[in-house]
């Protein structure tokens, strides 16, 4: 690595973002590769989980900086019984120092999102709800093996807003086999009717170990690019702009939690299968509730500091804004051009990356071919 000292080291940083993984669902959806216990749980198991996760919070709370964001995901956090749900949110509030502007997201399944839970969220200080819609179209939902119904969604969103949870994200999945561009457009418009300030629109990825993979469903990429453009254009009409490959938001609706993580922030992950990053190493808790409760060691991902720096650089390029070069240097203490100048120039020539004196960001094509950027940089 010419020009970069070989004794280079990265600084460990205290987390400014917290992720809590809730490993319970009302059954697993066919596309989902996230870890959850499915429906094989009872209140007692939830309480055991709560005991452990609260103990973890106590253990780590002090070592965190003031948090800029909290993300409670899963699984389905809203399937926790009311008391457990409250203990979880209360625990976070009490054991961590949350900044006044702290963004606090809870992933919600519309079906299990009760008004009681909404009230708790509002009272304790949750600012953002992320609702797993995936599709409004029945045949798409069936294809995806999506559980539950969307009955009363409109009402629940109104209650959320009433409770002071003003930021609402709707998760959609597209590129679903049998889904036409027209069906996609209908999904997008239905979603926009709820006036969310954020939409995550994920192209279906059939991941190993999912039921979709078992069903040998394959995403058909024939209209991928057309759909990609359609989503961008449709959402833009309502002021939601792409700021990451699969994420669209109004100017103030971006998910700061994920945005900070794409830009190299240190984060603490609690719960089974949760990942943490301290600026140097990344580690992931066992994806098994009992093993996690039993205190089994996390799996550590440790790579040389320069490789880590390159990884941070690469992941920032998932976002439309990419990197401010000075910010990158401040974070990692390495100059991105010294680190990967040759590769960046090559990517620039290939039309995937825009590079000037102050910034480095993906071109629209660079978003569509983001893995090509990754391969070059990592």
């Amino acid at each position: 690595m010419e020009g970069v000292q070989t004794a280079f080291s990265l600084k460990r940083r205290a987390p400014t973002a917290l992720y809590v993984h809730v490993p319970f669902c009302n059954g697993k959806c066919d596309y989902c590769a996230f870890y959850s216990e499915g429906c094989d749980w009872d209140d007692e198991l939830q309480d055991m989980y709560l005991d452990s996760v609260l103990a973890e919070m106590t253990r780590h709370g002090k070592s965190c900086e003031t948090l800029d964001s909290v993300f409670v995901g899963g699984g389905t956090p809203t399937v926790l019984h009311d008391l457990a749900f409250q203990r979880l949110l209360q625990g976070i509030r009490e054991r961590f120092d949350l900044s006044p502007q702290c963004e606090w997201t809870v992933e919600c399944n519309p079906e299990s999102l009760t008004e009681a839970k909404i009230d708790m969220m509002g009272e304790i200080g949750v600012t953002r709800a992320s609702l797993g819609i995936q599709s409004f179209n029945q045949s798409c939902r069936k294809m995806l093996g999506r559980r539950g119904t969307l009955d009363g969604l409109e009402h629940k969103i109104r209650v959320l807003r009433h409770a002071g949870i003003s930021h609402v994200n709707l998760d959609l999945i597209w590129n679903v086999p049998t889904q036409t561009l027209q069906m996609l457009e209908q999904d997008l418009n239905r979603a926009l009717d709820f006036e969310p300030d954020h939409i995550s629109a994920y192209a279906l990825t059939v991941e190993e170990g999912t039921r979709l993979a078992e069903r040998q469903i394959e995403a058909d990429d024939d209209t991928f690019v057309e759909a990609w453009d359609l989503i961008e254009a449709t959402l833009a009409t309502r002021g939601l702009h792409r700021y990451e490959i699969s994420n669209f938001a109004t100017a103030r609706g971006r998910c700061r939690h994920n945005d900070s993580i794409w830009h190299g922030a240190a984060y603490l992950g609690l719960g089974p299968a949760a990942t943490s990053f301290d600026g140097v190493d990344r580690w992931t808790q066992p994806a098994n509730l009992r093993q996690w409760i039993g205190g089994q060691d996390p799996e550590i991902d440790r790579i040389p500091p320069l490789d880590r720096a390159a990884e941070i650089l690469a992941f920032g390029l998932r976002t439309v804004e990419g990197w401010n070069l000075v910010e990158f240097r401040n974070l990692t203490e390495v100059d991105p051009i010294q680190l990967r100048g040759q590769q960046l120039q090559k990517l620039q020539k290939a039309g995937l990356v825009e590079l000037d004196k102050t910034t480095c960001k993906p071109t629209p094509q660079g978003l569509l071919f983001n893995d090509s950027i990754m391969i070059e940089l990592i």
């Binding site: 993580i261 949760a274 992941f315 391969i375 990592i378």
Partner: protein, 600 residues
């Protein structure tokens, strides 16, 4: 030592698999040169590959003491000859070291093209021929048919033919007696040393061990000798013979066959066919028939993993120690990296070298499209010899090109004559002559371009004669042919590894074949990428690489990064083995797919 009249120098000529090595082994056992308990199948074939393929590449002279029926003890020197077309010069030198030749024919297979070629060589050398039918014990043996073939095509009377089974030993005693009676003893003509070099091997401890037949004079350790062709003087360290292992003696006398070890350490300093004489009192003329052997077929040899280059270099050097006909020059290709431009005597030689490299040395190799030596006549009246498409002059400067021709002799059951004639035509050849070998077999003499032989003629001959056809060939001058350099362009850039010299009429088909294969082998690309076949800038074939429309993972958050990176690592490992040409990553498999396969 024996007097001259007690010496018999002879060899066995036979087609591959007709039992030459088994017969040689039987001789060794019969003369107690080797004992039964140390007997290993086919002792003379030292190399594993030879044993496996049943092809003898190197010849090893063995001395035997034979107690004849007449009560006398004879010195037999058996010179084992290579059994394939590519090595006919080496065969001819081995024959020149003999006074007689056992002509061995498989009772079940009859006379083959190879047999014909070697018999002709032996007759031309003035050797006494002892015709033998082997494997007479086989149920499929057809002795009468063989006898008919001997009479018909070789003009050998049936009553002269011996019948043996090398496997069981039947008739071997009679054959050994026949050697005494039919093969004449050596007849030196002068006291001045003349020894014929008919082979050499490289021994890690001893250096170059030269196999020689002392024609005139004597040679002993400590003498200064001279290699006639190169005028290289050196000192004799040791002389001796194989029986079957090395047995040093004080001197080798006129008429004897043995080995000579000198101070020479470089195998290429000793040429097969050269004459050894004394430095002090040299002979006036060399023994006849010396030729500097030169390769006829060329190909680029590259390691699939570029990191293996040093290993390839070392292994090629090792091979060359024992195979002076194999030449190699470092060469580098944009697409394939560092490798060697190698020259071979022929296709089999190329095959053998490739297989030895890949099997004995465990190397994964890729060979570029083989070329012959073209005579390129330029408009300025000059002629260039071109064996590598990279050096083909600009078409506008070329007046015409001549390609090397061969004369082939093909023997096959008559049933397949039509197939063979068609094949010869397809391969741009002409049938000169057809003769009957017997009632069921024909001998076809054809003139064909060497290049066609090198590509896939053998395979096709075998296919169209159900394995029964055999052939032999010899160079037969040059002939004008519309010859072009075919280039393959990827995204507008020529890929050197795919360039080839071929006949103009073949170019379009070949270009299409390569383009199609590449289209399938190159992964989809972000941009429209054309694969084109071109002759001097004129596009004659085109395919487009499938276009990749996106390459993106939809979901990637804090917990996904490690997993994603591992996935990318795998992808990149794959990419490392790709070569970038014209901004396109071509996987190694694409090169293999295109280069390893025959046409169609």
């Amino acid at each position: 030592m024996n007097g001259l009249d007690k010496i018999r120098n002879f060899c066995i000529v036979a087609h591959v698999d007709h039992g030459k090595s088994t017969l040689a082994d039987r001789f060794l056992l019969h003369t107690k040169t080797i004992e039964e308990r140390v007997f290993r199948d086919q002792v003379l074939d030292a190399m594993d590959l030879e044993q496996e393929r049943g092809i003898t590449i190197k010849s090893h002279p063995v001395r035997m003491q034979y107690d004849a029926d007449n009560g006398e003890t004879y010195q037999f020197n058996l010179i084992d000859t290579p059994g394939h077309v590519d090595f006919s010069y080496e065969v001819s030198r081995s024959l020149a070291a003999c006074e007689g030749a056992i002509l061995l024919v498989d009772a079940a297979q009859g006379v083959q093209a190879q047999t014909m070629a070697n018999v002709n060589l032996a007759i031309n050398q003035g050797l006494e021929i002892i015709p033998v039918i082997n494997k007479v014990d086989l149920p499929a043996a057809n002795v009468p048919l063989c006898l008919e073939q001997f009479e018909e095509i070789l003009a050998i009377p049936a009553e002269e033919v011996l019948k043996v089974s090398a496997k069981t030993g039947d008739g071997v005693k009679e054959l050994l007696e026949a050697v005494i009676h039919r093969v004449p003893p050596p007849k030196p003509e002068s006291k001045i040393l003349q020894a014929l070099v008919f082979d050499s091997i490289y021994d890690v401890y001893r250096g170059v061990v030269t196999y020689a037949r002392v024609v005139n004079g004597t040679i002993k350790a400590g003498e200064q000798i001279r290699l006639f062709s190169t005028e290289l003087d050196t000192e004799v360290k040791e002389v001796g013979f194989f029986s079957p292992t090395m047995k040093p003696v004080e001197q080798l006398n006129a008429g004897e066959v043995g080995y000579v070890i000198t101070a020479i350490k470089t195998p290429s300093d000793i040429n097969v066919g050269d004459t050894i004489t004394h430095a002090q009192n040299p002979c006036k003329e060399a023994l006849p028939g010396f030729q500097k052997i030169s390769p006829m077929v060329f190909s680029g040899v590259y390691p699939i993993d570029t990191a293996d280059y040093e290993a390839l270099k070392a292994n090629i050097a090792k091979l060359r120690l024992n195979d002076s006909a194999f030449v190699a020059q470092p060469e580098s290709s944009v697409a394939l990296g560092a490798g060697f431009r190698c020259g071979f005597l022929g296709l089999l030689h190329m095959d053998v070298v490739q297989e030895r490299l890949s099997r004995e040395y465990n190397m994964d190799l890729i060979l570029t499209y083989p070329s012959v030596i073209y005579h390129v006549y330029l408009k300025n009246g000059k002629m260039q010899e071109i064996d590598n498409p990279l050096y083909m002059p600009d078409p506008s400067t070329i007046d015409h090109i001549e390609e090397p021709m061969i004369k082939a002799q093909i023997i096959s059951p008559s049933t397949y004559m039509g197939n063979i004639m068609n094949l010869v035509l397809e391969k741009r050849g002409i049938c000169l002559k057809t003769e009957n070998v017997d009632k069921q077999h024909v001998l076809i003499t054809a003139r064909m371009p060497l290049h066609e032989i090198v590509i896939d003629f053998y395979d096709k001959l075998k296919t169209c004669t159900r394995g029964y056809g055999s052939m032999d060939y010899e160079p037969d001058g040059y002939q004008t042919a519309p010859t072009v350099k075919l280039e393959i362009l990827v995204n507008g850039e020529p890929v050197d590894a795919f360039a080839s010299i071929c006949h103009a009429d073949r170019a379009v088909a070949r270009a299409r074949m390569i383009c199609e294969r590449l289209k399938d082998a190159i992964p989809p690309q972000m941009f429209k990428v054309a694969i084109q076949g071109a002759i001097g800038g004129r596009i004659i074939a085109r395919e487009d690489v499938r276009q990749l429309r996106k390459n993106v993972l939809a979901k990637c958050y804090g917990g996904d990064i490690s997993r994603k990176r591992k996935l990318l690592d795998k992808q990149r490992e794959g990419k490392k083995r790709m070569k970038e040409v014209g901004n396109v990553n071509i996987p190694q498999e694409a090169f293999v797919a295109v280069l390893r396969s025959n046409e169609e």
